[in-house]
């Protein structure tokens, strides 16, 4: 059961090895709430951290459906690894699609491919109530500095894998007097900045993403600011890429839970040949829900591909598209929990146990993070407002 067909990249031997390594360590990563270092290292060996980089900057220019397929396969084995891979590719796309011929960022993307650098992001902030499109911290110019320097300090409410990434993409107000929604993205190297965790990450699920709050500060060149307003980057790339790749993480989680439930039903059926076990009906129901879930995620991915470049690109900034991509996030994040819960009902205590081939506990716990990453209530509030003007189907 695949989200999309395997590509040359995802079929490569090195990526297949990374999948095996992700599966092997997933249980330990979850139990200890630790970074999946083995799997991320294996992805580096496969060159996967550079997959989203366009050909002109030395990458293989994997399209969003190829990145989505890789995300899906990783997430079936270890959702934390899948989510880290997805988030990293979201940062790459946000740079690559908006660098506007910047020499600094052109060179940077070449480095990502060569050095397999891992990029985290600090788009959340203490005090903005979870609204990514508002910032408090600002870019402060240092007027008398040599080489056009700027500095910032930000209290991020969460930075996933912040302690393990090489670089950080941060949203900030464009300047000290800029409005809270007048934002830019700045890329800094952890080696050249101060970063201090402000809490611990001991959570119900997605434990391997290691996403505590941080206070980050840096002084860097103004060239490290992406030369496109964040409003455009968010609408055309960061938001759709996030919702599409995250949805593939959640589809991967649900698919693995389904597959465990199916194996369980098959074993039950073998014990009494000639009769269909009662759980088989529940499995059939779940199978129908999975078909809907896949169609939802695949449809949204294809729509984005049809709009991402060329003359239809402005459609990505319309209210109609914002409503649709928010709907993808809401629906996919709910579908993944429902699928894991159904799988648990089917597997019974074999599913409730924390080990064994039918255990779905980790999948269910990981799935519960989906509704919280950009809270569904916030997206419903946004869509409720947007639907006051947007007429669906018109």
């Amino acid at each position: 059961m695949r989200a999309v067909e395997a590509t040359e990249l995802t079929a490569s031997e090195a990526f297949q090895q990374a999948l095996g390594i992700a599966a092997e360590h997933a249980g330990d990563v979850d139990r200890q709430g630790r970074f999946p270092s083995e799997a991320i290292e294996a992805l580096r060996v496969a060159g996967a951290l550079g997959w989203g980089v366009p050909v002109e900057y030395g990458g293989p220019a994997a399209a969003i459906d190829e990145l989505a397929d890789a995300t899906f396969e990783l997430s079936r084995r270890c959702a934390a690894t899948g989510m880290i891979f997805a988030m990293h590719q979201i940062q790459i796309a946000s740079i690559a699609r908006h660098l506007a011929r910047s020499i600094w960022f052109t060179n940077y993307l070449r480095r990502v491919v060569r050095e397999q650098r891992l990029i985290a992001s600090a788009t959340s902030e203490v005090g903005v109530g979870g609204d990514m499109r508002r910032s408090i911290a600002a870019i402060q110019p240092l007027p008398d500095s040599p080489g056009n320097l700027v500095q910032f300090e930000k209290k991020a409410s969460t930075i996933s894998y912040g302690a393990y990434a090489d670089d950080l993409l941060t949203t900030l107000r464009c300047g000290p007097t800029a409005d809270s929604s007048d934002q830019a993205l700045i890329l800094t190297h952890f080696a050249d900045m101060e970063s201090k965790p402000t809490g611990e990450w001991d959570t119900l699920g997605m434990r391997g993403t290691c996403s505590p709050g941080f206070v980050v500060s840096a002084t860097c060149s103004a060239d490290q600011i992406i030369p496109t307003p964040f409003a455009t980057i968010a609408a055309e790339t960061m938001v759709p890429f996030s919702h599409i790749l995250w949805a593939h993480v959640w589809l991967g989680i649900a698919t693995e839970a389904f597959s465990r439930a199916q194996n369980f039903v098959r074993v039950q059926a073998r014990q009494s040949p000639g009769t269909t076990p009662p759980s088989a009906l529940r499995l059939s129901e779940l199978s129908a829900r999975m078909a809907e879930f896949r169609a939802l995620v695949k449809g949204a991915t294809q729509e984005y591909i049809s709009l991402a470049d060329g003359e239809r690109r402005p459609t990505l900034s319309t209210i109609g598209y914002a409503v649709r991509i928010n709907n993808l996030k809401i629906a996919a994040s709910e579908a993944t929990v429902e699928a894991c819960q159904s799988a648990l009902r089917i597997c019974g205590f074999a599913g409730y146990g924390n080990s064994g081939p039918y255990s779905v506990g980790r999948y269910l716990r990981d799935a519960h993070s989906a509704a919280l990453m950009i809270a569904n209530d916030r997206l419903h509030a946004t869509n409720a407002a947007l639907l006051l003007v947007y007429r669906e189907g018109k």
């Binding site: 409005d179 929604s181 007048d182 319309t318 209210i319 946004t382 947007y390 018109k394």
Partner: protein
């Protein structure tokens, strides 16, 4: 061909009406006297929620309906860009 003085006058009136609606509904954080026809309203602090409120108010005031393709950031970026959109809708209606 030069535009007639009559249509120039309508355009100016439209912009003044739009400016008034922006003042009432865009919830700008800046001193409104500083808002010109070309000022970027989003950079001046208009939130996406406020932009929706503004769109509804404009539809009421001008008796138009913005189609989906026009419900985008670039159309509501400034009084000038809003005026252009409304003029094109009014032309299409007449």
């Amino acid at each position: 061909m030069l535009p007639s003085t009559e249509s120039q006058a309508t355009e100016g009136q439209n912009r003044d009406r739009i400016r008034q609606i922006v003042k009432e509904h865009a919830g700008l954080g800046v001193d409104f006297e500083k808002v010109e026809f070309s000022t970027d309203l989003y950079r001046a602090g208009m939130t996406s929620y406020a932009s929706v409120v503004l769109m509804i108010a404009l539809e009421n005031e001008f008796g138009v309906e913005f189609p989906d393709a026009m419900l985008s950031r670039s159309v509501f970026e400034s009084i000038d860009s809003i005026a252009k959109a409304i003029e094109s809708l009014q032309e299409a209606q007449s």
